[in-house]
Amino acid sequence: TGVDLTPYIQSLNLDPASKLPFHHVLETLPSPWIETSRSDVEPRHFIPE
């Protein structure tokens, strides 16, 4: 029967009730598992010279 996805959705900051603007989750995904997502990971960025 699967699992209740609410904690998964919240862990990805995708809660639609929050009414925050759309954001790309995969660009900053630290790890597939909440337990191994202890810290942020540096996303793509460009620093002009």
Binding site: G2, L5, L14, H24, V25, E27, L29, P32, E42
Partner: protein, 512 residues
């Protein structure tokens, strides 16, 4: 020994990149000297050097104090690879071939380590190498390789960029979980890596989606091989949860990937993974607005969005094989002989196939062919409805409907189930195909005269297939909810004998 000498050289490199940026001219000079002094000027010597460097790096990781920076050497190695792609001479050998050589050497090293150490193999340094490789490549390739001063080299690297990811994805298939269970969790982490998954999702036109399909399918095969309904080892369960989270990310960021690849993914998804199936089928194009499926008065006939034909990344007609001609001929001019040909192919499967579904462990029909036929009919019907009147297609005498009817009427119980299941899987977000299949399901359910007295069997299968999608945790595909509501709206549905016979089923339907 030669290996020790090579390790010394590599140590020099590690020291160098700890002190300076890779943009520094000294890096170029260092690499040039490596070639000029015949350290890495041939394939043979390069492989020797790289093997020595990997061994040193992995040993350094294993022997380092875990609280210190254990990845210094391995990070330097990944940087080295990327810098070679800039500064080596690629007039006689392509970057593609060179990258394949490097990754081959890497894989073989990993294989040997795994063979020697078995369950004591540690995936982390190998994961780290690949992760840093991705990060370094991303840093280099930003803004069309603007950091690369040599314009010729810059153009070549721009050209090579898509190949880089293609080769990376291909090698991921080499160390997939079925081959290296010891690397399974690192593999899933790599698949969802922020520097690779979004890139492959953006590379739709350059084959990124095809590569991604293959990778997801590799993972499906692994979890399917070692899980049964009611018997899932803990580690597989954890892998599955990781995959679930990644799928939610994909559904959020690029739902179009699921929308257009649902056919390919579902053909390879384990039959019992109902929630994953629902996540794929519930995806809809970004910014599409449509009514709440639980509204009482949804009428697909009047919804403008139900006239839009959805895109598919892979045309199922390619899977029809020799049946393409009979199916297309039937759709033009139905005939009983064509129906017999199609039926015999669908119901014929040389050997029983193991398939761990809900309520079955084997199948005796060609499910892939069934899925292809059903989707092909859906695509043709939806497209044709745009060109002619809707009533010509949404009609129980239309060839699109009668072909499905014939397949179900003449099929074995197993075939009936799989055909209806394939139809229900096309009840997705509001679009022309969902609309057509909603018509098919409702007509088949409510028109007893179609079935020569065997209507109840079909009704039960329809309700089963719909219920299988609804009794799992959300999400639920829009089309499934709307169609199920359409069936339940009719009071006679609750009076069906197979519902009344079981108090359990009756209470489920009552609550629904």
């Amino acid at each position: 020994s030669r290996t020790e000498l090579l390790c010394l050289v590599f140590t020099e490199w590690i020291t160098l990149v700890q002190k300076i940026e890779v943009d520094h001219y000294i890096v170029k000079a260092f690499i040039k000297q490596l070639v000029d002094t015949h350290v890495i000027d041939t394939h043979e010597k390069f492989v020797e050097f790289f093997e020595a460097s990997i061994s040193l790096s992995v040993d350094a990781f294993k022997e380092s104090d875990p609280t210190s920076d254990v990845f210094v050497s391995i990070d330097a190695l990944a940087k080295f690879f990327v810098q070679l792609l800039i500064y080596l001479d690629f007039t006689e050998e392509s970057r593609k071939d060179f990258s394949s050589l490097v990754l081959t050497t890497f894989v073989l090293n990993m294989t040997n380590d795994h063979k020697e150490n078995g369950k004591d193999f540690n995936e982390r340094p190998y994961f780290r190498f690949l992760s840093i490789l991705l990060c370094e490549w991303e840093k280099l390739s930003c803004h069309n390789f603007i950091r690369v001063k040599d314009q010729t080299c810059r153009c070549e690297l721009i050209e090579f960029d898509k190949d880089f990811y293609s080769i990376f994805a291909s090698f991921m298939r080499v160390y997939q979980p079925l081959a290296f269970p010891c690397f399974a969790f690192a593999w899933v982490t790599l698949l969802s890596h922020r520097m690779v998954l979004p890139v492959l999702l953006r590379m739709k036109e350059e084959g990124g989606w095809e590569k991604l399909n293959l990778l997801f399918i590799d993972l499906f095969r692994f979890i399917d091989s070692y899980s049964r309904v009611g018997d899932v080892p803990d580690s597989i369960s954890v892998l599955y949860k990781g995959l679930l989270r990644v799928f939610l990310g994909v559904a959020n960021d690029v739902p179009e990937y699921f929308v257009e690849n649902h056919y390919t993914l579902l053909n390879n998804l384990p039959a019992s993974y109902l929630q994953l199936k629902n996540i794929i089928l519930s995806a809809f194009p970004k910014k599409l607005q449509f009514p709440n499926p639980y509204s009482a008065d949804i009428d697909m006939d009047v919804l403008e969005i139900c006239k839009k034909v959805p895109q598919v990344a892979y045309d199922p007609v390619q899977d029809l094989g020799t049946l393409k001609k009979p199916v297309d001929s039937y759709l033009r001019i139905p005939s009983s002989s064509l129906m017999r040909t199609i039926n015999s192919n669908v119901n014929a499967l040389k050997d029983l196939k193991k398939e761990h579904g809900v309520g079955f462990d084997e199948i005796a029909v060609n499910v892939k062919l069934i899925n292809a036929i059903v989707l092909h009919i859906g695509i043709e019907a939806a497209t044709e409805a745009l060109n002619t009147t809707k009533n010509a297609i949404f009609n129980k005498n239309s060839s699109y409907f009668t072909l499905l009817l014939g397949l179900i009427s003449n099929g074995s119980p197993s075939a009936k189930y799989h055909i209806i299941e394939a139809i229900v899987c096309q009840l997705r977000y509001p679009n022309a195909q969902t609309h057509f299949f909603n018509f098919v399901i409702c007509t088949m359910f409510f028109t007893d005269s179609l079935w020569d007295g065997n209507g109840a069997e079909v009704q039960e299968l329809i309700l089963r297939c719909l219920l299988e999608k609804l009794f799992v945790f959300k999400p639920h595909p829009w089309g499934v909810v709307v169609t199920f509501t359409d069936l339940l709206k009719n009071k006679d549905t609750m009076e069906l004998p197979f519902i009344k016979q079981s108090s359990e089923i009756q209470s489920v339907f009552k609550s629904l």
